[in-house]
């Protein structure tokens, strides 16, 4: 069914014009101004790097206090302040000019070809600062510092053991993320890309004595690697086709290419140019956990909660979105690339939302929610609304981080318990009030409740989907609306179950029994960890609420989540241009920023949502999406607030009916994607590995190497009887040798004479 729709979409996409004219795309991007006076912007990268080095020093000196955490927090706050001042410097008035800041020469290759002309490959360490960069860096550094402050308290149980390692990993991550976003060429982006992958591996595998954590870290790294292959090949082809990998030069080359018809680089071929966006897209899907490379993100929840919040919700997973936004002109050149992005994004959103509805671990629910929301962002990019995608990135960063941090606080205080069947009524538990209400704010934003930040950003995307003339995009828009309903359902399912109802909690005994599990923070008696091994009944468990650092950060981020909608408030009610939109307009993603022509589009009388009777497509979208969202909340309230047993009965009913049995099973088992990968990829690899192992051990090692070694042994055994110690035996051998040599010499003499 999907294939037929896709084929229809392909024909329609080829025939219809896309949202922007390719020729105009590249020329809209203004060339960057070289700004060496802004070299202090390099401090944004230096602060986290310095923090990493200092954490390593702390580790070497076996510091047992919270010093590494404080170092990292201070460094990140400094980076945030620097970013802010950079923004203020570059943003004069209404527009932001793009700037390149050359720090030092990193890679400069030049060689002479056969025809005698020089080819060069330049990758200087240059920062490319335009408004997209600044937008990203603001929330990356801001959230980074807040979450680090949260983590100083959250990880306190591990002081002296893994504390330093954790903050070292966080520092490395933020350095790499900064390089990814600030880098002025694709090689720096790749460097940051790999760096965040490495940091993710290190931090997910933080509890290295847990096999599940180690496996999850490996899975994350390996699945990312598949995507990195696509990114690497994409970069190669970009260089081959355009002769440069620096953003500024690339955009100018694109402008020249598209304005002058037909002349391309000497060794370009059409297929390699066409392949570029698909390869880049593969990289983006790997890093941002879209189908089929989404399998690593839920398992990555094995890492500590601050890691999940920072890396797997707010920053690293948005790198894919950033990549496509940054290289948007390349995507614009291929008519099929963006529809593919949209389709996959939408499909991932639907898939993840369906799985999230059936999970019991609240962190897993949030993980699938992340995949789903990232699908929305890719949908936004695909339908031509980079503004929508960036806005959703911005708001999603806040509310998803908030949701994860609340889950962490619950875990911290409830002895590691995350199963929503075993927690209830936390709203009324002493010390958990802040957590519950901030969780509510997060859920409101996630489900797109009217006038929340998620509402505005999601509806920008869906509105853009409906506003295009492409029937494929309209279909995707309807899918997105259904997914929004599912999102609202599972978000409030969590809240109603965990925070409402009668008070009920039990610690997670399995997690509590391991003294090194840093997420099991319940205390039986004050600081009596000797009792934590076994023999520890639930009724002795006293949850402790989070303290100042956690609560403070939760409040700050909640406020941020609310205020993330501020640009829309100002745009709607004060008629200023949406700040996010202005940031996107001044960047290389300008094509999707939505121009006034787009707003003119909105006045279309006949659009897909005309049945609502509202003429403005965006307003119509908002109404329909809100309605669906509130419907979802009501269903969740029914099943999980008022009538909890009804959920179980429904599930039973579905399971017992042979026709619908597959539905709950598939949703609970993640649609068996992991199992399919196991059979298709892992088993053959395992088999090949065994075959190769056998051939290596027996054929190469045994036969060739050892066999060759045995040849001298056997040859020696042939001659061994000569060495029997008898004097005359040796003498006769010597005499025989003399006889032979003399006979031979005589023979030669005879021949010569």
């Amino acid at each position: 069914m999907i294939l037929s729709i896709a084929s229809a979409a392909i024909t329609s996409a080829v025939l219809s014009s896309s949202s922007a004219d390719p020729i105009a795309v590249a020329t809209l991007i203004k060339p960057a101004i070289a700004s060496p006076e802004l070299a202090w912007a390099g401090l944004i990268l230096c602060f986290p790097a310095l923090a990493a080095v200092l954490c390593a020093v702390c580790g070497a000196m076996r510091v047992k206090s919270k010093l590494p955490g404080m170092i990292t927090a201070i460094a990140l706050i400094a980076a945030f302040v620097t970013t802010l001042s950079l923004y203020l410097t570059c943003h004069d008035g209404a527009t932001t000019t793009a700037r390149t800041i050359h720090l030092f020469d990193w890679i400069t290759f030049a060689w002479r070809g056969e025809s005698g002309d020089w080819t060069n490959f330049l990758a200087p360490f240059t920062l490319y600062v335009d408004s997209l960069t600044l937008l990203w860096m603001l929330f990356v550094t801001g959230l980074g510092s807040l979450i680090t402050i949260y983590a100083t308290e959250y990880m306190e149980e591990d002081q002296g053991k893994g504390y330093v390692r954790f903050f070292g990993g966080i520092s490395v991550f933020l350095f790499a993320m900064g390089t990814l976003v600030l880098g002025g060429n694709l090689l720096l982006l790749y460097l940051g890309w790999e760096g965040v992958g490495l940091a993710s591996y290190l931090l997910v595998g933080y509890n290295y004595d847990r096999p599940s954590a180690v496996a999850a870290a490996k899975k994350a790294f390996i699945v990312n690697r598949v995507g990195d292959l696509g990114l690497a090949f994409g970069i190669f082809l970009i260089w081959l086709n355009y002769g440069t990998i620096e953003y500024d030069a690339l955009f100018q080359a694109l402008a020249d290419t598209t304005s002058s018809a037909g002349t391309t680089a000497a060794n370009a071929s059409e297929w390699s140019k066409a392949a570029i966006p698909y390869l880049l897209m593969l990289g983006a899907f790997g890093k941002s956990a879209q189908f089929p490379l989404h399998v690593w993100l839920p398992d990555a929840m094995e890492g500590p909660t601050p890691v999940s919040a920072l890396i797997h919700a707010a920053t690293m997973v948005t790198a894919g979105v950033y990549l496509i936004a940054r290289t948007y002109p390349l995507f614009e050149l291929q008519p099929l690339a963006l529809p593919v992005v949209a389709c996959i994004g939408c499909f991932s959103a639907l898939l993840a939302a369906s799985i999230g509805m059936a999970q019991y671990d609240i962190k897993r629910v949030m993980a699938y929610s992340t995949i789903s929301q990232l699908g929305y962002m890719f949908l936004g990019l695909g339908v031509g609304s980079t503004f929508g995608a960036s806005y959703h990135v911005f708001t999603h960063a806040f509310f998803k981080a908030l949701l994860f941090l609340c889950c962490g606080a619950i875990m911290h205080g409830m002895g590691g318990q995350l199963d929503l069947r075993k927690l209830s009524g936390l709203r009324h538990v002493k010390g958990f009030r802040v957590t519950s209400w901030t969780l509510l704010i997060g859920c409101i934003c996630l489900s797109g409740f009217p006038f929340s930040s998620g509402f505005y950003s999601k509806d920008t995307i869906i509105g853009a989907a409906f506003a295009s003339d492409d029937p494929l995009f309209i279909f995707l828009g309807w899918v997105a609306i259904v997914t929004a309903g599912m999102t609202a359902y599972y978000a409030f399912r969590v809240w109603f179950r965990v925070c409402c109802g009668e008070v009920l909690y039990e610690p997670d005994l399995a997690a509590h029994a391991a003294p090194t599990a840093n997420d099991a923070h319940g205390h039986v008696a004050p600081h009596d960890s000797a009792n934590s091994q076994g023999g520890h009944a639930a009724h002795d468990f006293h949850p402790h609420g989070p303290r100042f650092a956690i609560n403070g950060v939760l409040l700050v981020i909640a406020v941020g989540a609310i205020l993330a909608a501020l640009p829309s408030y100002l745009a709607e009610f004060a008629h200023q241009q949406n700040w996010i939109q202005s940031m996107v307009t001044d960047s290389s993603a300008v094509a999707g920023a939505g121009s006034s022509a787009h707003d003119a589009h909105a006045e279309h009388a006949n659009h897909a949502l005309s049945f609502t009777g509202i003429s403005d497509i965006h307003t119509a979208t908002s109404v329909v999406a809100s309605a669906v969202g509130i419907l979802g909340i009501c269903i969740a309230a029914f099943f999980h607030l008022t009538n909890r047993k009804a959920a179980d009965r429904l599930r039973h009913a579905l399971l017992s009916n042979a026709l619908t049995r597959w539905l709950p099973l598939a949703m609970e088992n993640k649609w068996y994607v992991d199992e399919i990968y196991h059979v298709v990829l892992r088993l053959p690899a395992w088999a090949i590995g065994h075959v190769l192992h056998f051939s290596d051990a027996h054929v190469i090692d045994g036969f060739l190497v050892n066999g060759t070694a045995r040849i001298p042994l056997h040859v020696a055994r042939v001659f061994q009887p000569l060495y029997n110690g008898a004097l005359q035996g040796y003498a006769s051998t010597m005499a025989g040798g003399v006889a032979l040599i003399s006979a031979w010499v005589f023979w030669i003499w005879l021949q010569a004479g």
């Binding site: 061994q720 060495y723 029997n724 110690g725 008898a726 004097l727 005359q728 003498a731 006769s732 005499a735």
Partner: protein, 132 residues
């Protein structure tokens, strides 16, 4: 005495016969037949000595066979000295004799010590330097 006279080739009629005829080098340069016979005998002596060394087990007889090889070498020296009308061959035989004597003394001393260890002169008794 008459047989010595037969070996002269360059019989000079002006030669004055002393009451005690002494053999002189130039006049007794031997004919090729003698030289050939001597060379053959030297080769045979050498080979007999070699074969004896390799087959006899008694250590003293083994050394005696090496002396036989010396004999062969000395004979060959003398024969070739004769061919070249040079006395260096005989001088070298003196050295051979010297070395043979020295070697015989030391070898016999060692053989006696060895005999004391094992109470036998069998050369097979000393085969400890073999592969295990």
């Amino acid at each position: 005495m008459s047989c010595f006279a037969l070996t002269t080739i360059n019989a000079s009629t002006t030669m004055l016969m002393q009451p005690m005829p002494t053999l002189t080098l130039a006049s007794t340069a031997s004919d090729p037949a003698t030289v050939n016979a001597a060379l053959l005998v030297s080769a045979l002596l050498f080979v007999c000595g070699l074969v004896g060394f390799l087959t006899r087990r008694n250590m003293i007889i083994m050394f005696l066979c090496t002396e036989l090889m010396f004999q062969g070498a000395a004979l060959a020296m003398i024969a070739f000295g004769n061919v070249h009308h040079d006395a260096s061959g005989q001088v070298f035989v003196i050295f051979i004799l010297t070395v043979a004597a020295a070697e015989a003394a030391l070898a016999l001393g060692l053989v006696v010590l060895l005999y004391r260890r094992r109470e036998t002169l069998d050369s097979q008794a000393w085969n400890e330097l073999k592969e295990a």
